[in-house]
Symmetry: C3
Subunit: 462 residues, 3 copies
């Protein structure tokens, strides 16, 4: 294992839109894959904004059922036609070469070449993004209209790549909170020049790091993870899975957070009733944010498939906007900054921040005086004079909320449920919760799930 | 602790309506509060009909998070105007003085007086009922139209009250049944001259005591409690909470049982699925009594808030008719006998008695021959000759009910559920249940909730 | 206990319809009852096709709450009128005598006779089937139109029967499978000449034995039981109840499987959510077979009432078509081969076979690589080149099904549930399941119900 923490001073964001534009333009041209120099360079640049500790897992390491592959390095790739025309050129777009292509330097006929050409008949102007990580192949990706126009004759296929024993890298950082219990934000770095389905996640993550660092208080510690998809999160779990099993209270995989869809799209964790799942549902029903909510589905998606594999079953959902398989630019050269947009990323960060703020108060509390109602009057939590006709509606409502919160705060009802019993958003209860905590009659419980049995001792033992 | 049991002979009710009229007229004028002579006198009079043991909790005693206040005694209260007119007079109505007002004998201007006057702008002819138990205040309650007509000048505010170290009193009685397991009926005494929201509960309780005492058999023991609201039930729980936790199988707080509403209004216990909650729902759906059923709500109500505080969480619901906050006479001088009515009290007693009778059979039973069906024929529970064409419909139905009761009586299905599987009221099954019990094939289980696991030993161990 | 296994060679069915016709005609005339020679002869003939081991339980044996009655043997029964006319004759139909009638040889008037005559006023041409097993009676069954035409005068009632200490018989056979876990198929033999409500069950059972014996593999062992109804299954349970409690994973009582109803009628087991119950519901919703599904009902039915008595509570449902109490021939001479039909029996066998085949795959499996996704590529379970645009829909679908099955196969989700999450029949998943099993990434779990907690060890313990 190798690891290093950047010693450069952490940079803060002053203008979110300018930040996004600049980082995007800096990161987009880099040729990333699941390993290699492009991945390392991308992690390095992002660590200016998120203090990532960057670690490596050596090639050949067994990570659960998988083996970390050799590093792929590429310098050049070119397909030259019989007419001297360059039909695919890595220097023009890094999508032009099959990602993880083995080196090749061969002259061959068009018929011999065809099995090594990838194109999209339904999108004839787009260059597809194609990979072959675990089976040694070579190939070029090019627009279908180009493929159709290729002349007969001898081609020169040239890929200057190599496979070396190196490492697979990922980066992570923890923003500490009052508790060691953690919330995970995870996204991936591994696609070359793609926008929505590559850079939207890390860029929104950088905004969120910046914002959460500025919160007055954080109930939870927040863990930020950037890794290549699938093999990266599996590698991460092979090192930190035990820790996450102990510490994790909720998490979000961030993917495809740009694009034209107006709402965020939440895919539930495998548990489907984890507190974070309930928090998003609660905000959708009672809050001012609407979400498109989907059940967990292991058959497609991103790294939540690994976090939610049955051996881990972590409470990690996925937050997206315009997702894989629902826009034509998915995994091809149409996935550009113009398609992704900058504004949607800011808006995605806004909504995810709201989910996290709500999650901070959504859990379990304990009334410190569970036998009979606590005496509210002596703590200035109740009007001195009790007169039904004289109380303002707001007084009645406030006292009612106090009594409701206190009665149900027995460690088995989440604050979300208490809010829902009162037919309102948990965010509206925050002032009451805070007052009751300040007066010492209510305490927050560490867990986000109810303990198996909530039980009080004998009342006369007090 | 002080306690005494009345040694007078217990009186029985011969004419329910006359009883209610007479008791009402006797109790209404007494100036009750949460402590003091008026409360004791009221308990004493009611103990002629319910053999209440009256106990006291000394002033200053800590009861959970509360402290029993000093006793309040009052002789006179009068507000005299600059014109010599008496604008508020305790002798005319005990509502005229702020309940728990401290003594005062002061001359002051109208402006100085105003903060001590309570009235209802929306009900200008009504005198409100206002209290200040735990913060020393003084004041007068009077119709808003009077407040508006007060002339400028010097007033004489005079309250002849005192606070003394004494006790808070409540009364309770147990009507024994076959089992030590208890059903609680609880109501409050603490408001001065109010009808529906004070006397309706104790008066219906007296009817119920009289009726239940006349039942042929009682499965449960019935506990009757009369106490001042909130501080009284908290005091009661501080003494008897452990006992109730062990013994209580169900309970009802009786409040506001008069007034014009045609149906009883049931507020579920905090558990919401306690057998008593299910019993009321069952009667509403399958019986001849319709109820307006509400979820538990700790933000308002009566002493069920204390019985259902999370440390106790007792299976106690609330039975009412025309409730607090839903009639304009709530907590003011419009809450009179005329508003409350006498007939509604009798009808409330009828329906509550039906709930209790149903609760007596609603619980869990055990088939004594659980391996295969019991042989009904040898116990004369089955026709000798089995001929599909010859059986009367009633025979088929009776045998079917026997088999259904026996199959499901394994300690995990309540008789309510068994009745509902048969799409009928549990009251219709009573003859079948009684026959099966008499024949020794069915036994009643002591609990009203299913044991955690119902399990039979090996069939060949029998 | 006596028992013998037929040593004759087992016969296989070549033409199902011819088989049913011949066996029906052979068995129909035999006078069966819950004991006696007719029952033994019927078991004996069926054991040519199902290798029944036939056992006996001696008269007088206590079986749970019941006692095995003496054997009933009958040679002749005749009711001769004053005019010499024979009004009821056992030789013409064995329904003519009250089943288990005691011997009688008496001359008596019509008025004395009437209490011993059974007929159906609503079906005046039908002879009812009437029994009196446990109370000694005598009597004749005859058409109501005959009863109405009986002349006054002296009748001769003659029944030549006897009760002897003998035994009650049943037969059973086990068709072994990969596992010792069993599926039960149970039907009854005890009615004399009735078709749908007697022979349909054993005949369909014989077809099923023949078909299941020909399956390539059987996950479960299949137990076939033929016994007299009620007392027979209770006797069987008294001997084999412990074994069934351990081994049984599902079962079906077969009854009334002929008649005109187009669909099979499934009555759930008492558990109502046993895997076999869910299997039938799943086939009804996702498969090509529609069922009329009923809740469990202990108040009527067949031997599922005994298998599902609360002490056993075995996962045994009932499969029928045109049932008791829903056709006018129920328990009378109108229940003939013409009514029952031969084709419906074959169709019933088809559908029950489909239920059993589905049940074989419906249960619980375990992903052998639960930490992260298993690496599908190295096992040829995933395309080498990953290109969204290039995968056929069928490839995506197949990979998605692999991932879904693997993610949810943690011992707590049945394959039925996994199929339903994928909105398809479990039968469509069979090729994927088989491939994953062959590749060693998926294993079948022995149980059909989820273990109480499915838990993996620490991922780093692997």
């Amino acid at each position: 294992m190798t690891g290093h923490s950047t010693d450069r001073e952490q940079r803060r964001i002053t203008d979110e839109e300018a930040f996004l534009e600049e980082r995007f333009d800096e990161l987009f041209p880099i040729c990333r894959s699941i390993t290699g120099p492009g991945l390392r360079e991308s992690l390095d640049r992002l660590s200016e904004w998120i203090p990532l500790e960057i670690e490596g897992v050596s090639s050949g390491t067994e990570v659960f059922d998988w083996t970390v592959p050799q590093e792929w390095r590429i310098d050049e790739a070119k397909l030259v036609g019989p007419d001297g025309e360059v039909y695919a050129d890595f220097d023009e777009t890094n999508l032009a070469v099959l990602n993880y292509s083995k080196p090749i330097d061969r002259r061959l006929s068009l018929d011999e070449l065809r099995p090594h050409l990838y194109s999209l008949p339904d999108l004839p102007e787009a260059t597809p993004y194609v990979t072959s990580y675990y089976e040694r192949n070579w190939g070029f990706c090019l627009p279908h209209e180009t493929v159709e126009s290729l002349p007969e004759g001898e081609y020169h296929a040239y890929v200057d790549s190599e496979f070396v024993d190196g490492e697979l890298n990922y980066g992570h950082a923890v923003l500490p909170g009052e508790s060691d219990q953690e919330v995970l934000l995870s996204s991936y770095l591994c696609h070359p020049s793609l926008a929505n389905n590559e850079l939207s996640g890390p860029l929104v993550m950088a905004l969120l790091y910046d914002r959460l660092a500025a919160w007055d208080e954080r109930r939870f510690s927040y863990r930020f993870v950037l890794c290549p998809e699938t093999i990266g999160s599996i590698s991460y779990l092979s090192r930190y899975g035990d820790h996450l099993t102990d510490a994790l209270r909720g998490g979000l995989v961030l993917t495809c957070l740009g694009g034209p869809e107006p709402r965020l799209r939440y895919k539930k964790s495998r548990r489907e009733t984890a507190l974070l799942d309930s928090t998003v549902e609660h905000l959708d029903e009672y809050g001012d944010a609407s979400f498109e909510i989907h059940p967990f589905d292991p058959s497609s998606g991103s790294d939540e498939r690994q976090y939610c594999s049955p051996g881990f079953d972590l409470p990690v959902g996925q937050m997206a906007r315009t997702v894989y398989r629902e826009y034509e630019g998915y995994h091809n050269s149409l996935d550009t900054k113009a398609f992704m947009g900058i504004d949607p990323l800011v808006e995605s960060a806004d909504r995810i921040e709201r989910v996290l703020r709500t999650f901070e108060v959504a859990g379990y509390y304990e009334n410190q005086y569970p036998y009979g109602e606590p005496m509210l009057g002596k703590r200035d939590l109740y009007p001195d004079v009790s007169s039904y006709g004289e109380w303002a509606d707001s007084t009645s409502e406030f006292v009612g909320q106090e009594l409701s919160i206190l009665n149900y705060s027995d460690g088995t009802h989440s604050m979300l449920e208490i809010a829902e019993r009162n037919d309102r958003s948990v965010r509206e209860l925050v002032p009451v919760i805070e007052l009751l905590r300040k007066k010492g009659v209510l305490e927050r419980l560490p867990e986000t799930e109810p303990p198996s049995t909530a039980e009080y001792g004998s009342p006369t033992d007090e």
